[in-house]
């Protein structure tokens, strides 16, 4: 082959060739499409332009397919997935971890002070058997548990050598206070281990968990909402 005299491919009809990328427009007049397609079939220069266009477009598709990048109107992007993950983690932790106490606590403060662990103060639990758990009191032979209604009338009593006990359904009214005392009675002051809780349906329990979950689940939930908003705004651009 002899040396090339010019700089390579040249459009065979520049007046038509300058419109060649219109072929990628879906709403193209059929006569114009026929002309451009026929032009592309004989013009290697324009074929190169189209191929370049296709190459760049297919790269974007393969990148978004492998990295989860954003594609308008398709799957959520990385931000969207992060939002879903944060919300899911927040909900899971809210369901697993105990909620924050609500209202004043009567029991003692500090790590060494005996206290009721569950239910926490003001917690809404499902109607039925209620599990009560507390911290062990050094020197206690056994524990006495008393449930009272809002008027202070005793609805149930029980004793155990363990640090938990299950209250039957009839022990709980819509609002119940639990008092745990240790024996011998002089080990802890009376009323130190006390908590009140309410019973409700599944929706009441869920709402309470969401409203009074700990700092970590709430931070994850808030982060998820913010990320979700950011993902929505990006998709609208």
């Amino acid at each position: 082959m002899q040396e090339h005299q010019e700089s390579g491919l040249e459009c065979v009809d520049p007046v038509v060739g300058e419109r060649i990328l219109d072929l990628s427009a879906p709403a193209l007049d059929s006569a114009e499409r026929t002309l451009l397609e026929a032009h592309a079939d004989v013009c290697a220069a324009c074929r190169l332009t189209l191929d370049l266009h296709q190459e760049l477009r297919s790269r974007a598709r393969s990148e978004s397919g492998t990295t989860g990048g954003r594609r308008p109107g398709s799957r959520p992007g990385a931000t969207g997935w992060a939002a879903v993950a944060a919300l899911a983690a927040g909900l899971a932790l809210a369901a697993i971890l105990p909620p924050r106490p609500v209202g004043p606590r009567i029991d003692g403060r500090g790590d060494d002070t005996p206290q009721v662990l569950r239910p926490v103060e003001g917690e809404v639990v499902s109607a039925g058997d209620v599990a009560v758990r507390w911290t062990p009191v050094p020197g206690a032979d056994r524990y006495r548990v008393r449930a009272t209604d809002p008027e202070g009338a005793t609805t149930w009593t029980g004793t155990t050598v363990a640090t938990d006990i299950r209250l039957p359904a009839e022990a709980s009214s819509h609002e119940t206070r639990i008092l745990v005392t240790a024996e011998p009675q002089d080990i802890i002051p009376p009323g130190v281990m006390s908590v009140s809780y309410r019973t409700g349906g599944a929706w009441d329990v869920l709402r309470h968990r969401l409203l009074h979950s700990g700092a970590l689940p709430q931070a994850l939930g808030l982060g998820g909402v913010l990320l979700g908003l950011a993902a929505i705004l990006r998709r609208r651009d």
């Binding site: 082959m1 002899q2 090339h4 005299q5 010019e6 700089s7 390579g8 491919l9 040249e10 459009c11 065979v12 009809d13 007046v15 300058e18 990328l21 026929t34 002309l35 026929a38 032009h39 592309a40 079939d41 004989v42 013009c43 290697a44 220069a45 324009c46 074929r47 190169l48 332009t49 189209l50 191929d51 370049l52 266009h53 190459e55 760049l56 477009r57 790269r59 974007a60 990148e63 978004s64 954003r70 594609r71 308008p72 651009d237």
Partner: protein
Amino acid sequence: MMHEQHHVSADCRQYIGGDDAAAERICVALEPAVRAGVTGLLGAGDPDGDDVVQEVLLALLAYLRRTGIVPDNPAAFSVRIARNRCYNLGIWRRRRRAQDVDDHAEALPSLAASPLELMERDQKRRLVDDALADLDPPCRELLVAVYRHESSMEKLRRRLGLGSVQAVYHRRNICLEKARKFLNRRLFGCRSDRAYP
């Protein structure tokens, strides 16, 4: 010369109108110019020279019937097709020589194949990367925004301060044309640039 072109254009119109005999007159009239263009690039004794000339003339006839449009200058139109064909043939031959396999002995590449189609995937990717890197920053950013980030044309219109999205498409087309010219230079330009294929 002008007179001859007039005749060829008239024959082209007759061929479009259904006169098959006009095809012979068109080929007779254009064959010398096409052959000269092919010989100028491939050399007089090239074994594929005759095939290229025939392909080009047949392609012109097909184009006329398909579009119903006569090019302003049928001779120049045909010679450009022929020259492009020869350039692509050069790339195809170099690739065959580099691979030295019989798998490619079957047929010549299609008449208007893009040079990128004739390359290995990695070569193609490198070449396009180089073309993007060679662009001026505004063009590069625009193509990245359009293709990689898939930004909407309306968003780009606002960002660029343009009056219509058609203006964005126009600017994108100009940038693609710059990239195409780079590829042209790289593939067919001076010898020192011939890193590909």
